[in-house]
Symmetry: C2
DNA sequence: GTCTATACGATGATAGAC
DNA sequence: GTCTATCATCGTATAGAC
């Protein structure tokens, strides 16, 4: 939504060297996974010696945590902007899904770390991240509940549907590859349309038929 | 579809000790990830010494490969059964999604290894697995194409929608937990309904409104 | 803040007795 | 086929010079 490029996106984090390590960490973790990544590799990508990492981060796990927290905060901001915007529930949900799916495509390397390396976090760090994830879940569920209340959506299982919607977007980080895939905006549009169909009440369905589908 | 329990499901694999190692491997890999799992851990869970693993598998990676291959073959069988069954495209797609989503819930520990540890495979093994994955993709895309041809589905972007459908099911392995989640059959039903809505043409939508939704 | 050097444990895998 | 013992390597993290 706001930021453009993957790297250099560590909004004013400490010294510049720490930013380089964060960027190197994201790339390495996304490519090979947290456990398969060595501190030597991270430091090397950042153009430093292995020891330099420990000047800026207490442990390798703390580096992961910092990446994960910033990533989750960005993801939440993307959803929050849509959830708090003006418009019907259908419009807000479409906006949220479009932005969230797109974010996972555009920042698939960050997103991969954010979504698939949770288990590597220490207990306390994990708890902090889970709180952020719950907020994201709550925001999406809220939009769906609004739509149901207004009769715009027909959804029997709201928590299950919210889970499915988030799950669909999150998994973009798994399959998306910058090279072979369609452009991120297209993923966003496709997904917004698919989710719209998933929740729409029968009456409003005809009104929705102006999107990319058909 | 056919098998019931997670363990003891290594249909006639070599000696019994190899089965124990496969089961131990699935559990360990699913819990902690391939790279974070030690051969000592696997062997320990199987009640053997670390060295015993190398009698039955050349390397730790080969153990992963064997798990992944069997898992993928099972997943493909689940989809294939639905794809080749009698019925309309809508019925076959619902059946496929119900079974596939359910499989990922029921066998979420195997599924987690199958879906999230691909990057740890060696080059040749990886290629073999990718071929299996392509078959699964082709089966789902085929059902959707059938539905579009029959006018039962209204789907503008067939490959994208097939990808989304598979992605939705696959991600069940990430979030499903045997303890806290709804039962696997419920996941299957919910997902079959959601996907049905995603693809249905406007005309047939009223006819579909008998599922768990509303 | 960054480097070189290194401690120290753990890891994948093998040798050889039984 | 399984074990005990062990190798060679590599992992995270620290010490101390600059």
């Amino acid at each position: 939504m706001q930021d453009v490029q993957e790297p250099a996106a560590w909004g004013g984090v400490e010294p510049e060297a720490a930013q380089r390590l964060l960027t190197a960490g994201v790339e390495a973790f996304a490519e090979r996974g947290y456990h398969a990544t060595t501190t030597r590799d991270i430091a090397g990508r950042a153009g430093m010696s292995p020891a330099a990492l420990y000047i800026h981060f207490k442990t390798k796990e703390e580096l992961l945590f910092r990446i994960s927290r910033v990533g989750h905060e960005r993801a939440r901001a993307v959803i929050a902007a849509a959830a708090e915007s003006e418009g019907t529930a259908g419009e807000r949900l479409a906006c949220a899904v479009r932005a969230f799916a797109r974010w996972h495509a555009e920042h698939h390397t960050t997103a991969r770390v954010v979504q698939y390396e949770l288990a590597a976090l220490g207990e306390e760090h994990y708890a902090e991240i889970v709180a952020l994830r719950r907020e994201i879940d709550r925001l999406v569920r809220g939009i769906i509940e609004d739509g149901v209340r207004d009769g715009e959506f027909a959804v029997a299982d709201v928590p299950g549907t919210a889970l499915a919607v988030l799950s669909l977007c999150v998994d973009v980080a798994r399959w998306f590859s910058a090279a072979g895939s369609r452009p991120p905006e297209e993923v966003g549009s496709l997904y917004a349309d698919l989710v719209g169909r998933m929740v729409a009440a029968p009456d409003v369905r005809d009104a929705r038929r102006h999107g990319p589908q058909e």
